[in-house]
Symmetry: C2
Subunit: 244 residues, 2 copies
DNA sequence: AGGAATGCTTGATGTAGATCAAGCTTTACT
DNA sequence: AGTAAAGCTTGATCTACATCAAGCATTCCT
């Protein structure tokens, strides 16, 4: 039941320096010397097997994690056994800010597929934030982006109809892939329908129908989790509630 | 249209030291000397008249604000003229973290009534965070609480029925008042129905009906914005989706 | 003080999306 | 390989809530 990570390698296989995610993740804006300090602080890379938890609610805040490959979902579980998914974290994303309030995690983080994460222990984190201004700024930027994503999701859940929610989500994923050097046109979704429906605040059946509708309209092509965006502009224009 | 603050007083009328909000806001955990430094960094207290903006989207990130009295709402506006309210900030709350991502505010912040805020300029903020560890930690705690509030709202919008949303909101306000030394039983809501309905993701009419329903059931007493909670336990038990 | 505008409530009606139900496909397990 | 269990889709029905409509109360403005 508890967080059971295996295949822990002392020292990251790839230095931050050489990591393909370096400009998405923390290193952006650090000097060469600072980068060396960050790298030596990243004490290990862990493999989280599919369905295992990276951490659970009330676990002590041990580290900030950077997703290297795979995907993580965070969620809140209620007493009556329901859950609300809060976010999906893809390679280059940082996870773990939810524990800032009281040094205990306030949600669960689970691997959607076999996932590798870099760990920056909280003691290293504090030390680096205390001594390197650009590290502090980079961290603040990341926290700000996290808050921004949550604001966007609140807008989605509060204002949009179901078709628009899915359209907005798909364009978001496409842009994210683009910025990571992957295809914005064709990609695999890392999460099952069940999770995506929950995240977008609708029933699985409704989500499925919306996928079908977008496909019938010739906007996307759906093959289970493989999505091809045929008409990116039309997809984007379905998102009426874009921020001014 | 733009942010027009008036009645700016050089130097806060009440020092952080003596401020009734001190243990809710930043000072918690600071030594006497650190507190003096924080106080001297808080260069002014501003009055934001009702309906004026504290800041707007795309404004440069000039300060972190602490609400001393009154109330602030933050919101996202869409191109087609709709809005999603993201949060209500009451005395003791900190506002302005939304600009961490790129040094520009990513939402609007508007006064619901005449409001006084303390301003900690970003330059002071950076200086204090760089030199005082407990200041850094206090700030992280605040950011964590902000993220926690947003998670709670996502759960509310994603999982709850309308009556439950209102019940959860009201118990939350009651607890907040309690922790601030005000009555948890009787209080004025600072926001109009329109804003509360938007925040809770429902139509004003539905919100009004839910108020009426809770009143008919003898759980609360409603007189416009004056709310009296008659049966706190029953109200709380309507919130089925409490976190485990 | 008087009138207009805003805010709130209640009732009647319509509908987007939930729920229920069933079949099919893919993945997981022995 | 064969069977069980998940995962996904489509159709039929139902309902919680939105929308439309109207009236009253309160606040704002001159």
């Amino acid at each position: 039941m508890s967080s059971s990570r295996i295949s822990t390698n002392k020292k990251a296989a790839v230095a931050c320096n050489n990591c393909s995610l370096s400009d998405l993740c923390l290193p952006r804006g650090l000097t060469k010397e600072e980068l060396v300090r960050l790298e030596s602080a990243i004490d290990k890379t862990s493999k989280i097997p599919k369905k295992d938890y990276l951490y659970r609610r009330d676990d002590p805040h041990q580290a900030i994690y950077a997703v290297k490959s795979g995907a993580i979902k965070t969620s809140l579980s209620t007493l009556d056994g329901e859950e609300q998914i809060l976010g999906f974290y893809l390679p280059g994303d940082l996870v773990g800010f939810d524990a800032f309030a009281n040094s205990k995690h306030s949600c669960d983080a689970q691997a959607l597929e076999d996932t590798f994460v870099c760990e920056l222990s909280m003691s290293s984190f504090h030390e680096l934030c205390g001594s390197i201004a650009s590290m502090r700024n980079g961290m603040m930027r990341q926290v700000g982006m996290e808050i921004g994503r949550e604001h966007q999701l609140l807008l989605t859940l509060g204002q949009m109809r179901t078709e628009e929610r899915l359209a907005t989500f798909l364009t978001g994923i496409a842009e994210r892939n683009q910025s990571r050097g992957f295809s914005a046109r064709e990609f695999y979704l890392p999460m099952p329908r069940h999770d995506l429906a929950n995240y977008l605040g609708m029933a699985v059946e409704t989500l499925s129908r919306m996928f079908s509708r977008l496909q019938e309209d010739g906007i996307i092509s759906v093959n289970h989790r493989l999505i091809e965006i045929l008409a990116p502009e039309r997809l984007k224009s379905l998102g009426h509630h874009q921020c001014r």
